[in-house]
Amino acid sequence: MSIITYIVDNWGTLGPQAVTHIEIVAMSMAAAALIGLILGVFAARSERFSTLILGVTSTLLTVPSFALFGLLSIWVGLGNPPVIVGLVLYALLPVVRNTATGIRAVDPAVTDAARGMGMSPIQVLARVEMPLAAPAILGGLRQATVMVVAIATVGATVGADDLGQPILEALGRSSGTLAQVLAGVIPVALIGLTADLILAGVQRALSRGTAREAGG
């Protein structure tokens, strides 16, 4: 019984499911990156906001994904949307935390010099703090992405047509086989690994001159 044979035979369904899976992850991560960066910047500036937002995002991570997707489907309907929204919420913690930590780790002398030379607060952020925090931020994005790729499979329970489907089908039927489960699990692992490698590459490329190479 070959898992390879199974995947090849069922590529007609598995292929589109893999594409949907990647789409869901990409959309969630794009939104999480945007929201997380903004929240992270504010968290770096304000200790109180930092405590609040890290508390909220940590709490979100404790909600079981099955329950979260289910709850969200009440508001946004079944299918991909509740999964995307749920994954954004899960991805926030690592992104916010690493953004805030990365910005705070910038040497105060460097930002002092930047301000002293006449950079506006936005210029200091964009030209100095963000580039220097980039390795840490990318570290957060890597963590979040790997996590989200895996959790997206649970989205199948609320109707997302992603790689959770073959797993869910196999588990829900007495005739389900190990090959069927693996047909979902292996591509998911490959997607996660590939995404991590790509982001690791980006992280290295953005690490010029920064001593910190925050791991993912």
């Binding site: 040497d107 002092d112 301000r115 002293g116 220097l132």
Partner: protein, 312 residues
């Protein structure tokens, strides 16, 4: 000219700087010196408004800085700090290009300026331009810091203990380089230090501050060493004031004696040497007299009496 008019800075009940009035003439190096907590750095950073005064006004060439656009003001003033604060993710050339870039210069003008500045601070552009700050020594970093501060050719340069973290040998070299640069550039330099030797060495004038930003004395170094205005100043200046002061005076300016009948002493000292070096030579000389030469010309003879006279 930078004018402090009754400038105060208070943090709650604590007064960091109290009613400071000070005039800093264009083209001079003015050193703000004093022990820690005397408000010297606060006073410095009120000039580029990294710290805003609680009361009083600071004006540059008669214009109140409080009314200026803060970022435009800062771009027109060079700023050098002890930790240098180079951008670690940018090359030396990119760092130096910071202010010209903010000011919107074109690429060619920026490149030419960066090259000029690197030459000026003694770092060959070809060798250093593409390096990252992490690949520089402490002294080289501070040179880049000075070059970066001079980026858009500001009239004013603020230096906050720029050589404080540098080992003594390199520090003296950097001080000399700054003085050499200043001879060419004629900037208005405000320089903060807690090191009184550095202060009298590089300052055209020294403003000595005590706790709470009180101006104890504002004078030329030779004046400060000869006539401390208060016990505080005398104590801060430390031991051996008059001998140290000799290092600031030049043989050329002393009243030299005519060579007498017994001929010229064999020992010589240059006209541009300090009186301290002259005194050293006098003490070593058999006759207690030393010939002063300016290249090949004999200017006269110096002895302990003429040194004593010149130092008063």
């Amino acid at each position: 000219m930078i004018t402090f008019d009754r400038v105060s800075k208070r943090y709650g009940r604590v007064t960091a700087v109290g009613e400071l009035s000070l005039e800093i003439a264009s083209g001079e190096i003015v050193v703000l010196a004093g022990p820690s907590g005397c408000g010297k750095t606060t006073s410095l950073t009120m000039i580029n408004r990294l710290v805003e005064p609680s009361s009083g006004t600071i004006s540059i060439d008669g214009r109140d800085t409080a009314g200026m656009d803060v970022n435009a003001l800062r771009r027109s003033i060079g700023y050098v700090i002890q930790q240098v604060g180079l951008f670690p993710h940018q090359t030396v050339a990119e760092n130096i290009a910071t202010v010209p870039r903010l000011a919107g210069w074109n690429r060619r003008r920026i490149a030419a300026r960066v090259e000029e500045l690197l030459e000026m601070v003694g770092l060959p552009p070809v060798e250093y331009g593409r390096r990252l700050p992490a690949e520089l020594s402490g002294g080289e970093r501070q040179r880049v810091g000075v070059a970066r501060a001079l980026g858009a050719d500001p009239e004013i340069l603020l230096m906050d203990e720029p050589f404080g973290a540098i080992d003594p040998v390199v520090r003296v070299r950097l001080q000399n380089e700054l003085l050499r640069l200043q001879k060419v550039l004629h900037k208005t330099i405000v320089f903060v230090t807690h090191d009184i030797d550095e202060a009298v060495r590089i300052g055209d004038r020294v403003a000595l501050l005590s706790q709470g930003g009180v101006l104890e004395q504002y004078a030329r170094p030779v004046e400060l060493l000869a006539h401390p205005a208060s016990p505080f100043v005398a104590q801060f200046l430390g031991e051996g004031r008059m001998v140290r002061r000799l290092a600031l005076l030049r043989v050329r300016d002393a009243h030299l004696a005519e060579p007498n009948g017994s001929g010229l002493p064999a020992e010589t000292v240059g006209a541009d040497a300090s009186l301290r070096d002259a005194l050293d030579a006098v003490l070593r000389a058999e006759s207690g007299r030393v010939t002063v030469r300016d290249a090949d010309t004999v200017l006269g003879v110096i002895d302990s009496e003429s040194i004593r006279e010149a130092s008063r």
